[in-house]
């Protein structure tokens, strides 16, 4: 009797896949907006959403290695392109844009006034790592401006970079304007082509969440957080 009960329990646990859960892998810079969207989506539909935030390139590797993911949202086109090329997604669409600013801790202790200040060796400067969209965008921006930044750390994702600026360990860093929050001050940088956020559903189950992100309410949440329209 007891054995049968345990067996039943195991079988229900295994059959748990039929419980609707949508697994979403999203770029770290989408942490705030996707958390809000997922929570509203669950309230409306009763379907749970599992969120996985990391650098777009780390998420891409997980997907290419076969991680079960229903929706992928990357902070650039090249990471999404590789997922599409590998056949993991058929179509992808731009759903938001974002651009960089220089973020400094409250009070701007390093007296940063513009991009050229990032060359100062006395400042502790951070950017995102190569291959992470915010890192690629930062390198393109620095190159276009002819600035040789004296970089002290290449952080694995934008949230890690923001944390180090917030705690005052870094004097300045190039982050998305949507990542500033309340505790950071921003300094404008020269106009640059924004990064385009791409969204794709990798399974049938993901299609509904993609539609929700693209809905009027989804766009409203993105706009309120400072993202640009596609």
């Amino acid at each position: 009797m007891k054995r049968a009960a345990i067996l039943m329990l195991v079988m229900t646990a295994c059959a748990g896949q039929s419980d609707p859960v949508i697994r979403v892998s999203a770029a770290a810079s989408l942490t705030g907006v996707f958390t809000q969207m997922a929570s509203e989506y669950t309230t409306t539909t009763g379907i749970e959403v599992d969120l996985n935030f990391a650098g777009s390139s780390a998420l891409r590797e997980q997907i290419l290695e076969g991680a079960p993911v229903d929706v992928y949202a990357s902070a650039d086109e090249s990471n999404m392109q590789r997922v599409v090329d590998a056949g993991a997604a058929t179509t992808a669409q731009v759903f938001a844009t974002n651009s960089l600013v220089i973020a400094v801790p409250a009070g701007n202790p390093g007296n940063v006034t513009g991009l050229a200040d990032l060359e100062r060796p006395d400042l502790l400067v951070g950017v995102c790592a190569d291959g992470v969209p915010c890192g690629d965008l930062a390198r393109a921006l620095l190159e276009a401006a002819g600035v040789q930044a004296s970089v002290d750390t290449n952080e694995p994702d934008v949230r890690a970079l923001v944390t180090k600026i917030e705690t005052g360990e870094l004097d300045a860093g190039l982050v998305y304007r949507t990542d500033l929050g309340d505790s950071l001050e921003s300094i404008a940088v020269p106009a640059h082509p924004p990064t385009r956020y791409m969204l794709a559903s990798l399974t049938d189950a993901g299609g509904d969440f993609v539609a929700w992100v693209r809905s009027e309410r989804g766009s409203e949440i993105l706009r309120a957080a400072g993202f640009g329209a596609p």
Partner: protein, 258 residues
């Protein structure tokens, strides 16, 4: 003695759980290009930095850890078990939590880091010193636990005999205790070094990631996994090989402390 048959299945599954990933890593490794990959600038810098910082951390763990182990093994005072729990905490703490704690302690705005910075201008994060500090933090308990077990297993009558022959506590410790626990000292130091070599979470959180300055082997592997898979695999093989050599050389010394 024959083992009960019921033990075999879970035992084999356990072995497979650890063995299959390691073998899979080796299967994917581009052996023919290994030399080229390990000779790249990024790889050479990471290998050099890792060698330097892990050895420095092992040395620091030895200097700080042996006295700590001796006191824990031979003294009786209230709160000793709390102290021992505290010192072994980095063994079980998620390294990224350790890194954050180090930032709040030794960062430029940290409890200790801020006065140091204001007095000397020295900044520990984003420097090789920060890597050594993070490595020592995670490696120290491995040395303390191993050496403490070694000293505790030692019959304290040797030290008493030395004392009756006129040796002061320092002489007895240096001439009697330490030589008799040489294997534990060796095992503890090597384990601490191997742990430091593999350190990732505390390092990236506290010291950041910059090639040639704070990008150790594990960080280089992490970054390369998303950029150049073959390079990541080549560096991983180095880490696997070093770890295996260390563990085989130590055999069961770690567990017995002698």
């Amino acid at each position: 003695m024959r083992h009960p048959r019921a033990l075999w299945l879970p035992a084999v599954l356990g072995l497979a759980l650890v063995g299959i990933p390691v073998v899979s890593l080796l299967v994917r490794t581009p052996w023919s290009r290994l030399g080229d990959l390990l000779g790249s600038d990024i790889a050479v810098q990471a290998l050099g930095l890792s060698a330097l910082t892990s050895l420095a951390a092992a040395a620091a763990a030895f200097v700080l850890g042996v006295p700590l182990a001796a006191i824990l093994a031979r003294s009786r005072f209230r709160g000793r078990s709390v102290l021992r729990a505290l010192i072994t905490l980095p063994m079980v703490l998620p390294p990224v939590v350790g890194g954050a704690a180090l930032l709040y302690a030794f960062g430029r705005r940290g409890t200790v880091g801020e006065p140091i910075y204001e007095a000397t201008g020295l900044v520990l994060p984003f420097s090789p010193w920060g890597v050594i500090l993070a490595n020592t933090f995670v490696a120290l308990p491995f040395l303390v636990v191993t050496v403490e077990a070694g000293i505790r297993n030692l019959d304290s009558r040797y030290e008493s005999a030395a004392a009756t022959l006129g040796a002061g506590p320092w002489t007895a410790f240096r001439r009697v205790t330490l030589p008799m626990v040489t294997p534990a000292l060796l095992a503890g130091t090597v384990l601490a070094w191997a742990r430091a070599l593999g350190e990732f979470g505390a390092t990236v959180t506290f010291a950041g990631n910059l090639a040639g300055r704070t990008q150790t082997l594990p960080l280089a592997v992490f970054v390369a996994l998303e950029q150049d898979r073959d390079a990541a695999l080549a560096l991983s093989v180095v880490l696997v090989a070093v770890s295996l050599v260390v563990l085989v050389a130590l055999r069961d010394r770690w567990w017995t402390g002698r």
